[in-house]
Amino acid sequence: MLEFFNIFVKSIFIDNMIFAFFLGMCSFLAVSKTVKTSAGLGIAVTFVLLVTVPVNYLLNKYVLQPGALTWISDSLANVDLSFLSLILFIAVIAAIVQIVEMVVEKYSPSLYNSLGIFLPLIAVNCAVMGASLFMQQRDYSNIGDVFAFSLGSGIGWFLAIVGIAAIREKLRYSHIPAPLKGVGITFIITGLMAIAFMSFMGIKL
């Protein structure tokens, strides 16, 4: 249990998707103008991460890894399909985003209306693809770890985008040099927030 908690906290604060790896920066910068929409996008990303990363973990474990196909027959022990992982991961993500979109539309029209425009965009969000690739690279030992990692990454992303959106709402009333207005100052503030998040790096988990 403690191990899951460690991975969870580590992926929120220390290995934060935005401040440590810059994943999902495009939508982070484009959608963070108001707190309300950015919270909606944050929840959607968290949910998609929570579904896609464990599915890709199973795919990696039982199909793609070198020797993963031994559950079919022992003669396939030398097959290494890992070069296909990029194409299969993105296919899984695109398909799941599509399914999530249809399910949400059917069962919760109000949630669909508030998230509607963001859902299709999540398929091409670097954070979702990046989490699957990190999962493959870090070689988690069981699916519980993967759930903890994907939930933590999603919440970390959520916190980051809501934080920057709150700051940008206040910034609208400040005097910023004209060339820095908009994106320029957002980059610099994100940098300062990243410095703040660096203070978690010393924590040993």
């Binding site: 990029l86 299709p120 060339p179 207005k181 980059f187």
Partner: protein, 207 residues
């Protein structure tokens, strides 16, 4: 090469730069630029992928059903990225290890998807190829600037050559700035590049 075609290549360098003006493809631009060499390798990979994906999608643009175009684009792009990844692993294995997941993330690089949606779906193949090359090079120039500055001030070297040590700067009390290699400084440097660019070109400033 008409003037319209040459502007397709030159516009992304300044007025329509993918990183500083269109704000696309930031993830990889920041993550791989701690040193110059991976930055250059990444820039070349992205240019190749954008140009070829633009060309292929533009050739197919009249036969792709609009409802499933995102999936079609993703398949084309990921096939190209798999090829690039295999080539990098075969010829520059150490750099490919350094770039780690960011090669795979070219698939979801917003520059690629953005140019496919905004340009290749509605333009002829030759124009799309040029647009892809132009945007790839516009991305490359920012990566090279970032990689150069961060490697010089962060590690005291250029392309792995320890220039600060050879000049004897350490003997007179010079220290490398460790913060420049870390994530936050990359963001702040891009902010400064945007600042410089928009100061000289007032039309790009936001209200």
């Amino acid at each position: 090469m008409s003037s319209k075609n040459s502007s397709l290549i030159t516009n992304p360098f300044s007025k329509n730069n993918p990183i500083t003006v269109q704000i696309l493809g930031i993830c990889s631009a920041l993550a791989v630029t701690a040193q110059l060499k991976p930055a250059v390798v990444m820039a070349i990979s992205v240019t190749v992928v954008v140009a070829l994906a633009n060309l292929i999608i533009s050739l197919m643009r009249n036969t792709i059903p609009p409802r499933i175009r995102i999936i079609v684009q993703l398949v084309v792009v990921s096939a190209l990225v798999v090829l690039v990844n295999q080539v990098l692993m075969a010829f520059v294995y150490d750099v490919s290890k350094q770039l780690s997941v960011y090669v795979g993330l070219i698939i979801t690089n917003c520059i690629v998807m953005g140019r496919l949606e905004a340009f290749a779906m509605t333009n002829k193949p030759w124009d799309s190829l040029l647009d892809g090359i132009g945007n790839g090079l516009g991305y490359a120039i920012i990566l090279v600037i970032l990689g150069f500055v961060r490697e010089l001030f962060g590690s005291g070297s250029i392309w792995g050559y320890p220039i600060c040590e050879k000049l004897g700067l350490y003997n007179i009390g010079y220290e490398n700035n460790g913060l420049v290699i870390l994530a936050p400084m990359a963001l702040i440097l891009v902010g400064i590049i945007i600042w410089i660019q928009r100061s000289s070109d007032k039309t790009l400033q936001e209200k």
